[in-house]
């Protein structure tokens, strides 16, 4: 990041440029590591018509102003207003998985056409926008030997809710890019629900009314309720997946796009009762035929295993 500002010092034409370097630390637990950027250190280099040069080394304080002293010049009275650095809201910590990392970056970039009936709400855009703009919610994507999952956690120190999407290493080694894109979209929807449940009271109340009963089952948590709710988002997930495939998957390779039903089948991935292959009630309601559901499950599995898949394998 660079900032440049003209400084009026002793009526000399002085120009400064600031380069900010991230300073942070890495913590590892449960087989995966998280990098936290604590602050940015700015180095400001100034040069003037008198031929003098100045270098400041400073940390960015809460107001973003440098606190160091000039080195090599007498510029202590300079009026200087460096740019404010915005802490990143989305952190890509995928390690040794360049293909999955690219898919994630591409999903963030993929655009949706507004002529589609669902085009006014791109779920991926919506999720990424929330985390890009929010100062209270962070989205972190990592990979580890744990299962594909989304975890929201309140960090007392930073006062933020950190939502971590984990992709399983074994899955990444086998799955097609299309499957990985689907999983990222699915996990991002969990992240979106965590955000909405906490920040939108009406969303919370509606969720409680419709899905709190699922906490009374054998696995008393909200996973089942969220997977039931995802039935309402299947079309959006399918269209998000198609958009990615058109721009970065088959479309990029010059191959024809897949049938819409294929993307829709993929969007049902994860919509199962906990720990089983039994479809959720919303899955069954959307696809009443048992044989049709079996075909969908076969498509999901083919892409997941990278066998007979129509998407290109990642590794």
């Amino acid at each position: 990041m660079n900032g440049e500002k003209k400084i009026n010092h002793y009526n000399i034409d002085v120009r400064c440029a600031t380069v900010y370097f991230p300073v942070g630390y890495q913590t590892c637990s449960g087989g995966h590591c998280t990098t936290t950027i604590e602050r940015f250190v700015g180095e400001t280099s100034c040069s003037g018509s008198s031929g003098s040069n100045f270098i400041y080394n400073s940390g960015s304080g809460s107001d973003g102003r440098p606190s160091g002293t000039p080195d090599g010049g007498g510029c202590s009275t300079c009026e200087y207003d460096p740019p404010i650095i915005v802490r990143p809201g989305i952190i890509n910590n995928l390690k040794n998985q360049p293909c999955a990392s690219d898919v994630f970056k591409e999903i963030k970039k993929s655009k949706i056409n507004n002529d589609n009936e669902k085009g006014d709400f791109n779920i991926v855009d919506e999720v990424m926008k929330i985390f890009n703009e929010s100062t209270k919610y962070d989205y972190i994507i990592v990979n580890s030997d744990d299962g594909n999952s989304t975890t929201g956690k309140f960090n007392r120190d930073t006062k933020t809710t950190e939502i971590t999407v984990n992709l399983n290493n074994d899955y990444l080694s086998r799955a097609s890019q299309l499957s990985i894109a689907r999983t990222i979209i699915h996990e991002s929807l969990h992240a979106y629900f965590v955000y909405k449940l906490q920040s939108d009271q009406q969303f919370f109340i509606n969720f409680e009314l419709k899905y709190s009963e699922f906490r009374r089952k054998r696995n008393p948590n909200d996973n089942r309720g969220q997977h039931e709710l995802m039935g309402e988002y299947v079309d959006m997930m399918a269209y998000g997946l198609k958009s990615w495939d058109a721009e970065f998957g088959n479309g990029k390779l010059g191959k024809p796009l897949l049938d819409d039903d294929y993307y829709k089948s993929m969007a049902f991935g994860g919509l199962f009762k906990d720990g089983t292959n039994i479809p959720t009630d919303s899955f069954k309601a959307l696809v009443p035929s048992g044989s049709d559901r079996l075909k969908i499950i076969e498509i999901i599995q083919n892409e997941q295993e990278g066998i007979n898949s129509k998407g290109t394998k990642c590794n």
Binding site: D146, S199, I205, K217, N223, G270, T276
Partner: protein, 183 residues
């Protein structure tokens, strides 16, 4: 002799049953919050609770929090600033109560709320902390330490509306959603 036996038995009962020792078990008002939130008024199916009440120290996370910087639900900072300012989180009292291990009393619970002795099966609840028409309750599902199982830990905020307690919002401490692959 008989009197000595009775007194000895009484002392033993008091010592072995901390919930009786100081008469500080959950109040009927606190049971009402739990029954309204988890009983027949809001649900149709049985819910299983772990039989021991979570200690009051579970509230330490929000003691002294600034509502401006806390992710309370609804996005209405004003509402929650007022809520927290009005709230009687008497830390000293909470800590003093922490030394006792309470057991939910089956007879005071709604018929749809059942108790489990196994730590792996039931939902964990704290006593509700009530202030005026609002209440906080700590809620946790099993599988906290199993990273391959879904898990929720949160504070539920309840509001008394026309004499009945209803869920009003939540502050998520941990929410883990694990997606199984197709087998």
């Amino acid at each position: 002799m008989q009197l000595i036996r009775i007194v000895t038995l009484l002392i033993l009962v008091i010592q072995l049953s901390p919930k009786l020792s100081l008469g500080q078990n959950l109040s009927s008002k606190e049971y009402q919050v739990i029954n309204d939130l988890f009983g027949r008024k809001s649900n149709k199916n049985i819910i299983w609770l772990y039989h021991l009440v979570e200690p009051n120290s579970v509230f330490n996370t929000i003691l002294g929090e600034n509502p401006e910087t806390t992710n309370f639900t609804s996005g209405d900072v004003e509402t929650f600033r007022t809520l927290l300012m009005d709230f009687d989180f008497n830390k000293g009292r909470l800590d003093s109560l922490d030394q006792y291990q309470f057991i939910f009393e089956k007879r005071k619970l709604d018929k749809l709320i059942k108790l489990k002795v196994s730590k792996e099966k039931g939902i964990y609840l704290s006593r509700p902390i009530i202030s005026k028409d609002l209440a906080f309750i700590y809620y946790k599902t099993p599988n906290e330490n199993n990273s391959n199982k879904s898990y929720n830990e949160m504070y539920i905020i309840a509001k008394n509306i026309s004499g009945s307690w209803e869920k009003y919002g939540q502050l998520i401490l941990t929410a883990r959603y694990v997606d199984q692959l197709v087998k």
